[in-house]
Subunit: 229 residues, 2 copies
């Protein structure tokens, strides 16, 4: 059986950067499942698997096709119940949605403001046209205008992660003594920034930065295998 | 065995308002445990139970004394394991710290800016002096200066709760199909605002407002038994 993860890349295939795809890379590694990753440019995603999804990640697992990082994690938990749990039961599963909400509404919003021009610059020519048009419409500003406030966003980033910092007073990972999918949700966001923008957002002893380093080391350092920008 | 919850009140004992004490009221009700609530003014707390704690909640459970809302919830979970769970297992327990972090750093910060003058006005004379002095020092502004930006804080409140709104797309409570301590953590914050400031912060169909109404109905409406300001 061949397991394929379609993820996202720019001009350089060896530097996949999508936060949602990184969540799935870590989730597959957590479950100990082999897979082939196929990084794909933005504008080629709609052609994958007969037009199955407009976005990645897409996971092909034998005859199954699944889209959306959270859906994929739920699928893996249900399909491989004897492997290490990604959620730790129903309460952990429900609360993962709260963490997803925080990640998308707070962390992704901030990272977009820091990294959007860097992401653009990593893309191939066709993707650059698509990306600039769609992102400038969504953000209501040009990429260059976003770039102008980049340093202020970097400076204001760490305080926004205070809820993570609070949780890390009590255990090494957000999910407890070991990582769960909630850790990969927030890891994915920071890995996205690391690979695209390489911005230094944490002071050396920030517990969130130290937790992120622990996440980079997980599963034979799969996160660290792609270097920072 | 007498179980006593020491909570916080202003001049009117029948209107306890502390967010942390409301978490414990709901947690005790969730476990089906009877208790006597003893609402106490700020400046009388240090004399309770021989100077056991500078803050409430304090729970006396027979010969046991426990302080701090989260510690009390952990104690109840461990001491009454056959009653309905407050955490749903280790992952739920770990993630409750993340929710606590979000509640304290995001929700409490915003509510303080809305309600601080209202809280002052509810207090007895001795407490008012203590409260004004300590809060003005902590906030770096006079209570009247806080009051001036109150409406802007009310208008900006609902968007800050987007992670809760996201979680509620998937289930009726933050903890899943039924409430867990994480629901009471966030309920406590909103109940604090309801009892002290009575501010209307949600549009009629806001899922967070509807969830809060569901929480007010829980456990024979113990939350609703104290009217809004």
């Amino acid at each position: 059986m061949t397991r394929i993860l379609y993820s996202l890349c720019g001009a350089d295939e060896s530097r996949p950067f999508s936060p949602h795809c990184w969540k799935v890379v870590q989730a597959l590694a957590h479950k100990g499942l082999d897979f082939i990753e196929k990084p794909t440019p933005f504008t080629e995603i709609p052609s994958l698997e007969g037009g199955f999804s407009k976005t990645v990640p897409i996971l092909r697992d034998g005859n199954e096709l699944i889209r959306d990082s959270f859906e994929i994690a739920l699928y893996l938990e249900e399909t491989y119940p004897d492997r290490p749990t990604l959620f730790g039961g129903p309460a952990g599963k429900a609360l993962a949605r709260f963490v997803e909400g925080f990640s998308q509404m707070v962390v992704h919003t901030a990272i977009t403001k820091i990294a959007v021009k860097n992401i653009h610059d990593m893309l191939g020519e066709t993707d650059q046209v698509y990306f600039r048009t769609s992102r400038e419409a969504r953000l209501g500003r040009t990429l260059e205008e976003m770039e102008a406030s980049r340093q202020a966003e970097i400076d204001g980033f760490a305080p926004k992660l205070e809820p993570i910092r609070h949780a890390l007073k009590y255990h090494d990972f957000i999910g407890g003594d070991g990582p769960l999918f909630v850790d990969y949700i927030l890891f994915g966001a920071l890995q996205w920034m690391r690979v695209t923008a390489g911005a230094k957002v944490f002071s050396d002893n920030d517990p969130v930065g130290l937790w992120f380093e622990r996440c980079l080391d997980l599963h034979n350092g799969v996160g660290r295998s792609v270097t920072a920008a």
